[in-house]
Symmetry: C2
Subunit: 434 residues, 2 copies
């Protein structure tokens, strides 16, 4: 790579060329300092006005903040410098001059609205704490992939352009596909099941999903990253084991490999990896416990979905991650299998963070005739899904799986207030650009 040393690698005694952004210039009279910032950190560049070439000093002190410069010089120890070393420059080139009127202050001294930050993401990402979120995001996805491999799952990718939606038509974005009507996929659900029914058996996918939901809340995105698993010969408890393993692996990786990033976010003291097994609470027990908190105006009855305040009350009561299992069949999708001995009771489960739902999963209906009935009950035309249901006639094993919201995972791990903080370029009702 172009002759250049990362600032974190500059050691006393080295002659280096460093390149990066002008973070700050401090002129103290006879002496001045320029702080140069790159991907790995910052370094101080010292100007001694009387002892250096006037042009060099002038160029270094006149350059606008956030300009890109390249500095060649010698590195010396300097205990008073922020990183303990400084560069005495011999050459300084302004590579890309910045407009002095910045729409956003990357030094973080001036607060900015989220929308201003998202409109100027390049500048926003020059802030250490924002960069840290996305370095951690990459680490979480890396750890998740590794953990899925430990569960013997194969990574797949499935199409995002589809002829039919999984969850009904209202939440679909329509596309024109060579004159035909098509949609952006809401979930890899049907595709991952088709692969779990083959020799591959266990699969995972990390990819975009698209939901035309009208929700505009700090927890919803219209384009999100879904972390999906599906496993042949797995039941709901097996899928819960995998989901729990994946979530814990993400926390552990951040804890082990992201200490600098946690520090940039001010989380180094409070970060905790969840300990112990996540409790598995049946839906029936969940509504009893929620009712017992007295937090809700109206008592829940069997068959009710859980409103946000109910999730909050139970989350406060449990105090950590937990599963809600055995939901009423009627409030779970048709592809979730019912218990063999009670068709009102499904094998569906959710994995909850005290703040919000992270995962939805269950054992799947693998019996062709039951599946076709399910489509009909959901008001969907089974013929439109024949490409899917017909494969269930040729030896579909019992299988189970889940979908985990990638941004919700990142948001809850880092305690972010808004899900838009967990994605570089969020898509919501108002935001389509950048």
């Amino acid at each position: 790579m172009q002759d250049r040393t990362y600032t974190e690698d500059a050691e006393p005694g080295d002659d280096v060329t460093v390149a990066g952004w002008v973070h700050e210039v401090r002129d103290l009279g006879g002496i001045a300092f320029l702080i140069l910032r790159d991907a790995t950190g910052k370094i101080q560049v010292k100007f001694e006005k009387d002892e250096m070439d006037d042009d060099l000093v002038e160029t270094g002190l006149d350059v606008a903040r956030e300009s890109v410069i390249r500095v060649s010089g010698s590195v010396e120890e300097e205990p008073r410098a922020p990183t303990g070393v400084e560069v005495t420059p011999e050459e300084l080139e302004v590579v890309s001059e910045a407009d002095p009127e910045l729409p956003l202050d990357p030094s973080g001294k001036v607060d900015a609205e989220l929308s201003t930050r998202l409109d100027n993401r390049t500048l926003d990402l020059r802030k250490g704490e924002v960069q840290a979120i996305f370095e951690i995001r990459a680490e979480i996805l890396r750890a998740v992939r590794k953990e899925f491999r430990a569960f013997r799952a194969t990574e797949i990718t499935t199409p995002k352009i589809v002829a039919t939606g999984t969850e009904g038509g209202t939440e679909l974005f329509p596309i024109t596909y060579f004159g035909e009507e098509a949609f952006m996929n809401q979930s890899p659900q049907l595709f991952k099941q088709l692969i779990a029914g083959s020799n591959v058996e266990r699969v995972f996918e990390i990819g975009p999903i698209f939901r035309a939901e009208e929700h505009n809340t700090p927890r919803h995105l219209n384009e999100a990253t879904s972390i999906d698993f599906e496993g042949a010969f797995c039941d709901a408890h097996d899928a819960m084991d995998v989901a729990e393993g994946i979530v814990k692996a993400a926390y552990e990786a951040v804890n082990e490999n992201c200490s600098e990033e946690l520090e940039a976010l001010g989380l180094e003291d409070e970060f905790e990896v969840p300990e112990g097994d996540f409790p598995r609470i049946s839906y029936e027990e969940a509504i009893e416990r929620i009712n017992a908190t007295g937090e809700l105006d109206e008592q829940l009855v069997w068959g009710d979905d859980l409103p946000t305040e109910a999730e909050k009350a139970l989350g406060d009561d449990v105090g950590g991650h937990y599963f809600i299992t055995d939901w009423p069949s009627e409030i779970k999708p048709f592809y979730i299998k019912d218990h063999d001995d009670d068709e009102q009771l499904s094998t569906g489960f959710d994995l909850m963070h005290p703040r919000m739902e992270l995962v939805s999963g269950g054992q799947r209906e693998h019996r062709n005739e039951h599946l076709i009935e399910g489509f009909e009950q959901q008001g969907l035309d089974p013929e439109q899904f024949e490409y899917y249901t017909k494969m269930f006639k040729y030896g579909m094993p019992p299988h189970a799986g889940f979908g985990l919201g990638g941004e919700r995972l990142i948001m809850t791990i880092l305690g972010l207030d808004n899900i838009r903080e967990a994605v570089l370029f969020p898509r919501d009702r108002q935001r389509l650009s950048p």
Copy 2:
């Protein structure tokens, strides 16, 4: 996971429960064999008719091929069995009975058309050689991610729903986004540049891209997997180093970790990791060499794009992977930087496999005013791209990168005839389902 042993883990002396598909039943009279297949391989189940429970024998021998069964019994050594061991069953349960009329024969004894295979992907993937392609695909993507990390690049994901296309309007799929016109993204180009301009500096993305191209060839898909890189303070040669490293890492990983899969594909003897540096041939030299082969009816002149037969002639001449560098500016996109001393000559490059183009890349234009001129020359309205160009006013470093076609990489590594073999559920002009 449900009490079950993978067939590859069944050792003589074990009492096991194995589960999988009925691959084959061979009835030899007094003795019969059922071959059970799972994710890890096959195992023989032996029926001695006179010594076993009649119901057990009848169930085992009557079950249709590709049904899912679960067998409990003891494992014994049997040198004549395909894997050296066999199971003497004590219990046998038919978990999911298959229709005896299969649309496709997973034993591979009967050939099927590609379209039949794609319509019945679940059955198709039960063939060892098809399963092998997708296990190798996962391994390639894993190796590519690891290699990018070795180049200090951070994995990002960027939006697939966008307000504007990068490469002009004709190849875009339009979407309706809450009443607004939007498109499915053709390339993460602009987004990855916006992140390379921040502290993150080096980024990669592996994700879907969508192109409404009319091409319907064995090398084109309308939804494909793009492997993208962008690095601040990189020039075209740095980006070529990364591209070459990524391609070689993919071959090396397949060579090291996929011997069983290569065997299933019959490639164990002929598989080769490319050796030595990929030659970097200038466009000027490339057309000279192509003309010298005499393979083309008409001689190429400077400024011509290379038709398929020209790529083939040069590929045969070079005999391995190679780069074509320094393309004429006018046939490369506006965001590719020209050489400082010759604005007719771009820094754009392609990485070629002898059979086809794999990678397109170059140093990017990082100067705001030149970029705006480029948009105008391309017939695009710079105002529509203001979210992008404005970031170039605030210290955009020189940067370079590339896009690598994921399916083309897999296709060339494995010598597949059709790109549709390298993706589970291809999307082309005719195919929108499954």
